[in-house]
Symmetry: C2
Subunit: 244 residues, 2 copies
DNA sequence: TCAAAAGTGTTGACTTTACACCCATGA
DNA sequence: TCATGGGTGTAAAGTCAACACTTTTGA
């Protein structure tokens, strides 16, 4: 079969570049949860001698026959037993020497889960929730990755209804406010907070009350279903329209 | 040398995972410029038979001894002859079948350059500026990548002084406004636009006037040097502080 | 009856939008 | 003298920040 002049087939191109198929690609998941009024992240003790005693994010190499996004879902599923959770790509880290095993480029994702719903076997596998505030040092460049994902979470929190993925289905406005305060590391004014949430029109009043609280119970709300997106990925048609 | 129980060295880990070092990693650059009152992007005719006649972004495989960010700078330098330009990572695309040569995951960057300063040899290498508005179909998943980068540019434009990378050093407020209008695809009110720019306090009044315009010349400005960052990458210390 | 949090409005400061006229220059 | 864009202000609407008291419940 004659080839067009100047063009090469993909197969030919692959052969001429085989040397390059020599970088491993991993994904690392920053899995956030909210518990005890603190933002937590799920970490595992590093099993590399080089990072003995340090913690790392949950990650794995991407398989040849696996989409990048699928790899991050797989890790989440394997580690937490959860399906259908919020997961979003954040950034890819590709310094030459970031991994002692060789050239490994990693794509970081962040995930938001309801800590009550996971299915972790936390006891036997060195997997633990860590308060984000207390984390100083991590294996690899994982502290940088964590910081980057935390910043992304903060940005997203302020513009989109994503934090509800960290709460149980029913929650009070106090719980919601405390969650925002934990994520943003700020104190918020109760009246202004409630006004702002009311304007967003994200919530349904369940006409139910908190129970088992040692004080006056608050009303319970849930997120309107149309905002329960699992990811926040933007469609290319969602352009920002601005006027000045 | 004795090993700690349960730990493995990075070297051992690499051996056990050698199969995975089999995905190629590329970077693709969405190089924007502004010319003739339109936002343009630099594209090249695809040299793959599969995409005969279609255009693609400028990309290349990442070398084994090259940082991911360095790879994107290299492509930009090789293609435009420019150093020290604005370049920022946007997203990584990793569908299994996005590339006919095999498994190639690509990290997309966007770049903003002054069209007058480049050093392209546009004539002999099928490299051309295309009006972003007119682009319908591209090779690979490059249309999706372009759309994603355009959205990122729009978001960044509204919050940070990045668009100045698309202008010559000296510019008039009219040029600046037309640039924003081209990027955002909106019409802006002149008085409100000037007020808004004045409040940002990004510009230095050069006390010079436009020349060779067929109407009353406007004042020329330049960006204050402290805003002339080449990239907009966030330091992890730059937390958003919010009050509600 | 005490402790804890629920629930609720107003004011002033600021920001955003909409909108129109005269001026300076070059052709 | 005409065409083109330069340059400028104000009023109304909306948003944001600061701030305090009464109510309800459980202990």
């Amino acid at each position: 079969m004659a080839k067009s002049i100047g063009l090469k087939t993909a197969e030919l191109e692959k052969i001429s570049h085989l040397d390059y198929f020599n970088i491993a690609l991993s994904v690392d998941c920053v899995i956030f949860a909210y518990d005890e009024k603190e933002l937590k992240v799920l970490l595992i003790k590093s099993d590399l001698e080089e990072f003995s005693g340090m913690y790392s994010l949950l990650g794995d190499l991407v398989r040849l026959d696996e989409d990048l996004d699928a790899a991050s879902y797989r890790i989440l599923r394997e580690r937490t037993g959860m399906e259908d959770v919020f997961l979003e790509q954040v950034h890819t880290f590709g310094s030459i020497n970031r991994h002692p095993s060789g050239r490994v480029v990693t794509t970081a994702y962040y995930s938001l889960i309801d800590v009550k719903h996971h299915n972790l076997r936390l006891n036997n596998n060195e997997l633990h929730w860590h308060s984000v505030k207390g984390i100083k040092k991590m294996a690899f460049d994982h502290k940088t990755i964590l910081d980057t994902c935390l910043n992304r979470l903060r940005e997203q929190s302020m513009e989109h209804p994503v934090v509800f993925n960290l709460l149980p289905e029913k929650f009070s406005l106090r719980e919601l406010q405390e969650l925002y305060e934990a994520i943003l590391s700020v104190e918020l004014d109760r009246r202004n907070f409630r006004k702002k949430i009311a304007i967003k029109d994200w919530l349904i009043d369940l006409n139910q009350m908190e129970e088992d609280v040692p004080h006056r119970p608050g009303k319970l709300y849930k997120l309107k279903p149309e905002f329960r997106k699992k990811t926040n990925r933007k469609k290319s048609s969602e352009n920002n329209i601005v006027s000045v």
